[in-house]
Amino acid sequence: MRIELVRRPNPSALYSALSPLLALAITAALGAVMFALLGKAPHLALYSYFIEPLTEVWSIHELLIKAAPLILIAVGLSVCFLSNNWNIGAEGQFIMGAIAGSALPILAPDFQGPLVLPAMLIMGMLGGMAYAAIPAVLKARFNTNEILSSLMLVYVAQLFLDWLVRGPWRNPEGFNFPESRNFHADAILPEIMSSSGRAHYGFVFAIIAALVVWFTLNRTLKGFEIRVLGQSPRAGRFAGFSYTTTVITTFLIAGALAGLAGISEVSGAIGQLRPVISPGYGFTAIIVAFLGRLNPLGIVAAGLVLALSYLGGEAAQITLGVSNKVSNVFQGILLFSVLACDTLIHYRIRIAGPARAE
């Protein structure tokens, strides 16, 4: 007996549109069962997950802080993935962007003024681009597998950052602890509305990036090229689109946005370089990109939902006293439901009987 997935000839347009909501409903139902089994009131658990983080203004600010890097990186990744370039190294590009941008306030702390911040942001983007260029050029020139090369470079970036903050960039006043000096005031990304919370301009960058990339992908020839080469490289080549240019361009876009996310996170939310500056944003963003179905506008929504599940997990730990493992399981249920809904709307399950001997 085998289980097969068979593509539905006419997937329901209604269900396709409702799929995310459906997935959310299934998550809520399964989550309620899980919390009930743990002996927690399910309605309280769901409330603290999905509603409580949205009931206070400061918490909404925190949501935007958490979502900003996810959205920025995922938007860039969507360009890569649509063109069939599997950039798994956004985490490394994020870190290199942060390092490149931070070089200014760390190495030249006396250079202050309104020029510092824009320079840092540009350097951050360039840093991310330069780092993404490595797997891109390797793929375009030597046909190297970009999944491996981009992933391996993540560890190089992490260790490079680690070495910097323990060695040459260590804070001279920091008792030898591994961290850089604190950025001066001109190097801090300002808050959007500092009276109500600490959300910084990183989220604004994320929205702008999503809009620009959406427009590029859907309304320009370049976007068309990217999508055609992704779906059918052969057809793309017949149309005269350059494969190498597209590989490099898409990687550079993803690298620039990951780098921007990195420097925004460091200068907006952390204020210095530390041995670890990302709890895995570059990897989580891959999930966000697919949750948003590689559509930049969908990614904004997906980034917010995933950020909400992190904040909700924290709220649930405090109000219900559940372990953070439970929060992780709950996140897993959410992702699983989304994928299952999408799959089952487009495919149906067929249980094939044992192959008959003729």
Binding site: A41, H43, L44, Y47, E56, W58, S59, E62, I65, K66, D162, R166, G167, F175, N176, F177, P178, N182, R198, E265, A269, I270, G271, Q272, R274, P275, V276, I277, S278, P279, L311, E314, A315, Q317, I318, T319, G321, S323, N324, K325
Partner: protein, 356 residues
């Protein structure tokens, strides 16, 4: 429709109950960097939290967040606690230092206690730490007595003063028994990664050490030592269950007394912000039962422990020579706290180059 109403009523009722449950006088909240099941650092802080609950009963309510990454997430987690009615918040990792101070500035009425840090930017921030190095001295002495090879392996986490202090103290303890004793160091560059820690232990054993001590939090090195039939010391927590024939002793961080003292002070209205560095004398550094060693070694260890507890013996007392051969402390001179807190050099005899 009727069902919906019932559900809503139930919801309202249970919120009421939740509110009632918060009738304790003080709410004490804890933020951990690792999972409470690490059987090391975070586990011990959580044990301290449970001791606190036990000691003060209904007067205290506690809450905790585990596996909170250092960085932007920490600030949010601390602020969430401050807003959720916590009166005192213990942030139990060095990397929470700036986040703790930032949130403390916004909530002057909430008390903040940061473990192992040095920044106290507002009057409501205290810092606390333990003199774990006192226990390292005892371990060094035991190692020098028990080792046949005359070499111990030391698994370090990060080359920060806290860890360097431990290595130096271990070395000094060992030299007090055997002046030629050597220590090999491997940096795991993590606080908690059983795989890496186990690899480090294997590498050290392959280099010929026959005693392992660690400044990382998992039980993996203890388990490797047990497999390979050598002896080891537990870290942060009594790890005897992971090496019944292997563990000589362990430095146990007992945070309970401090947590009880601080919350009691808050209840009594005598709370003041402090910067404390407690040790054996305060019950903060406890040696796990000495095991798997002859009686004379055990007697020596107990004697040293008693001498350190009474203040008679201070591990960092001269003459001590630095690794580069220059003099650090003259005969009878004791290290000052500032140098110890920022310690960034080895004493003579450590077989490693301190990463700079």
């Amino acid at each position: 429709m009727r069902n919906t109403t019932k559900l809503m009523l139930a919801a309202v009722a249970s919120f009421g109950m939740a509110a009632q449950a918060q009738a304790a006088d003080v709410k004490a909240c804890f933020i951990y960097v690792g999972p409470i099941g690490d059987f090391g650092w975070s586990y011990q802080h959580d044990q301290g939290r449970l001791e606190l609950e036990e000691a003060l009963g209904d007067k205290v309510e506690t809450a905790y967040l585990e596996s909170v990454p250092e960085g932007a997430d920490a600030e949010r987690a601390i602020e969430r606690f401050a807003r959720s009615g916590c009166n005192i918040i213990f942030t139990t990792s060095f990397g929470y230092m700036d986040a703790t101070n930032k949130v403390a500035a916004k909530f002057p009425d909430v008390k903040f206690e940061h473990a192992t840090g040095y920044k106290r930017e507002t009057p409501n921030v205290s810092t606390y730490n333990s003199k774990f190095y006192q226990g390292r001295y005892v371990q060094g002495q035991i190692a020098a007595k028990m080792s046949e090879a005359g070499v111990a392996g030391y698994i370090g986490s990060f080359p920060i003063p806290e860890v360097v202090r431990g290595i130096n103290s271990f070395m000094l303890g060992a030299q007090s028994v055997n002046p030629d004793f050597a220590v090999k160091v491997v940096w795991a560059n993590t606080w908690f990664d059983p795989g890496k820690e186990a690899d480090a232990a294997k590498a050290l054993i392959d280099q010929g050490v026959d005693i392992i001590t660690q400044h990382t939090d998992s039980t993996a090195p203890m388990q490797v030592a047990a497999e390979r039939g050598i002896k080891a010391f537990g870290q942060a927590s009594d790890m005897i269950n992971f090496g019944p024939e292997t563990q000589l002793t362990a430095i146990v961080d007992d945070w309970g007394p401090y947590y009880i003292e601080r919350v009691q002070a808050l209840l009594d209205g005598t709370y003041e912000s402090v910067d404390v560095w407690h040790g054996m004398a305060d019950g903060n550094v406890v040696m796990a039962p000495y095991a798997n060693m002859p009686d004379d070694v055990k007697a020596m260890a107990e004697e040293t422990e008693a001498a350190i507890t009474s203040g008679e013996l201070e591990p960092f007392t001269g003459p001590i020579t630095k690794q580069d051969g220059s003099e650090w402390l003259a005969e009878g001179e004791q290290a000052d706290i500032g140098t110890l807190l920022g310690l960034n050099f080895y004493v003579a005899g450590v077989d490693d180059q301190l990463p700079q």
